[in-house]
């Protein structure tokens, strides 16, 4: 369990954290999601003790660690660029925390072997970091962080420096690891897909503030405001509503569309639009549209619907919101 209360951090005139409060439940995998400069890394580094807060309190497992140095916070930290100890072998890297704690050599060796097994680097014990790939280095860094049995595991954009394929593999692997090890984990990322994929809780940050905290489904379907909505996926503006493109239904018959729309509460109504382009993206088909008001938006429909409609550029269709669940609540919009 980690709690951050009223955290504030200023760099010159730039406010990195603006009165941030956040609870991270024990055993959860929480993602801090936000664009660059949103304060997510500062928040993570403040939990680690690598940054000192101007104001606010951080507690880990009930203990106030606000003024405790990183050495004594019981954390494991993984850096974006691995921070591998280049002059040490993989074994010595992983053993570092234990040798600092002066554990006997047989104990260290046993633990190192165990961890290298878990991260799949058993055969790389005597290699140097320079002889490993990026993904392997990051798994070594994870083993190193886990070696000291940290109370919390903090990961600062751990897959940011890896290429797309390795990134998705490691992501899945991290999720499985977390299910086995159950250590409270906080992951910083700017990649919404990554957050939705691995985390069981997501905190969305923007300009040093937390916009919303919740499980992935809640955040995606019931975003608290425009920012959260647009950060967690693509959006289309339909009249005065912001909706997901896949929640827009298209109809060739205006009367039919109106009839179906009447069943949807708080709907934006039916909007006539001209098809500008039809893009087939495998299973999904994206339809670029221009509303009568001149506003452009996109709808995402299935391949089957697209085939049934037989859409072509220049034709007129009628768009309506099919699933109001993902509509940002009006009040929230008014508040933004």
């Amino acid at each position: 369990m980690i709690t951050v209360t009223n955290a504030h951090k200023q760099y010159g005139t730039f406010t990195a954290l603006d009165d941030v409060s956040l609870d991270i439940p024990r055993g959860s995998l929480t993602a801090l999601l936000g664009p660059s400069g949103s304060g997510k890394s500062t928040l993570l580094r403040s939990i680690a003790g690598l940054e000192t807060l101007d104001a606010g309190v951080v507690t880990i497992e009930g203990e106030d660690v606000t003024n405790v140095p990183p050495q004594r916070r019981g954390i494991g930290f993984v850096f974006q660029h691995y921070a591998a100890f280049k002059h040490m072998t993989v074994r010595d890297n992983v053993a570092f925390g234990l040798s600092i704690r002066k554990r006997p050599k047989p104990v260290i060796d046993k633990r190192v072997d165990e961890l290298l097994e878990i991260v799949g680097l058993s055969g790389f014990r005597d290699r140097y970091p320079a002889q490993l790939s990026g993904g392997q280095r990051q798994r070594m860094a994870l083993a190193r962080a886990l070696a000291v049995d940290p109370q919390v595991l903090l990961l600062d954009e751990p897959f940011g420096a890896l290429d797309a394929k390795v990134r998705t593999d490691l992501r899945t692997w991290l999720r499985r690891l977390h299910d086995e090890v159950h250590v409270t984990t906080v992951l910083v990322t700017h990649d919404q897909e990554e957050a939705l994929d691995v985390a069981d809780r997501i905190a969305v940050l923007n300009q040093g503030r937390i916009e919303q905290v919740g499980d992935p489904v809640t955040l995606y379907d019931r975003p608290a405001n425009d920012f959260v909505m647009s950060f967690l996926g693509s959006v289309s503006r339909l009249g005065d509503q912001v909706v997901r493109p896949h929640d827009i239904a298209l109809d060739r018959d205006r009367q039919h569309a109106l009839a179906l729309d009447a069943a949807v509460p708080a709907s934006a109504g039916v909007i006539g639009a001209v098809v500008e382009r039809v893009v087939r993206l495998g299973f999904e088909v994206r339809v670029d549209l221009r509303a009568e008001s001149g506003e452009r938006f996109a709808a995402q429909i299935t391949r089957r619907d697209a085939n049934d409609l037989r859409l072509a550029a220049g034709e007129t269709v009628f768009a309506r919101v099919d699933q109001p669940s993902s509509i940002v609540e009006r009040m929230a919009i008014a508040g933004v």
Binding site: G49, P70, Q71, A83, F96, R101, A141, R144, A145
Partner: protein, 268 residues
């Protein structure tokens, strides 16, 4: 760039000829003159009491200067790279000062400061000889060798950044443990190179040291001063050659040591 065979051979000849005339030839002449009368003559010349004392003094100065430069060089480099303090720019400039100031000027300045009539002259008058004694020569050598360790370690510190040190601290290492286990091994090669340059310069320094040394054979003569004294004062040309060869020999050993260490690094 397309170069004809002829131009290429021509360019190589010019470059090699330049190196030969300016570097190889003078050294070759000294070596030839040294060993012309035979090895026993050479050993006799470098084992006179004055020569042995000069060798010892030179090595003693190196032994004092190198540790001091290592400690202060590393601390200064850390301050320049990691520190955010007022006057950092000034410190940068000051570190380079010995490169800009002629060694003879350094000698004169030290006399003004530490000599009997200087600002710190009270020390001299109380009986502790700085100028014309070992302390003076050490201070002069430190002055001229100060930038080497700093300037070799600084870029390495820039390159390694602070990630590894932060990682060490999250793993429980204290500041000292991090320095000994992470920072020092990471800058080891820059430091080695800085030490080699310091040794070479400390052995070879002449201008600053001759100003602050009394130059008595067997007492306050370093190897370089011995070469000078034998050649100019004693008209012992052969002795000068022999001492110069000894000086080169030591420098060569240091250089070889560095190359061996360097090879070890690239093998990793």
């Amino acid at each position: 760039m397309n170069v004809t065979q002829q131009t290429r051979v021509g360019l190589r000849t010019v470059a090699l000829g330049y190196l030969f005339v300016l570097l190889a030839l003078p050294i070759g002449v000294i070596l030839y003159r040294t060993f012309e009368p035979g090895l026993s003559e050479f050993f006799a010349s470098i084992s006179t009491p004055a020569a042995i004392s000069a060798l010892n003094l030179s090595l003693l100065i190196v032994a004092i200067v190198v540790p001091l430069n290592v400690v202060f060089g590393v601390v200064t480099a850390l301050a320049l790279v990691r520190g955010r303090f007022r006057g950092r720019g000034l410190l940068q400039a000051v570190v380079d000062l010995p490169f800009a100031v002629s060694p003879i000027v350094v000698g004169v300045a030290l006399i003004m400061l530490w000599g009997a009539g200087g600002w710190f002259g009270a020390l001299d008058r109380s009986g502790f000889t700085v100028i014309f004694g070992l302390p003076g020569m050490v201070i002069a050598t430190i002055f001229v060798t100060l930038p080497f360790v700093v300037r070799e370690v600084e870029p390495v510190l820039h390159e390694i950044g602070t990630d590894q040190e932060q990682a060490a601290s999250t793993l429980g290492a204290t500041g000292w443990q991090t320095f000994w286990r992470i920072t020092l091994p990471a800058i080891r090669w820059g430091l080695t190179y800085g030490v080699v340059l310091t040794v070479a310069r400390a052995l070879g320094e002449f201008g600053a040291v001759i100003m602050v040394s009394s130059g008595f054979a067997g007492v306050s003569q370093t190897l370089t001063l011995l070469v000078h004294a034998r050649y100019i004062d004693d008209h012992n040309t052969y002795g000068a050659y022999a001492a110069a060869t000894l000086l080169m020999g030591i420098a060569l050993v240091v250089l070889l040591l560095m190359t061996v260490l360097d090879r070890k690094r690239s093998n990793r």
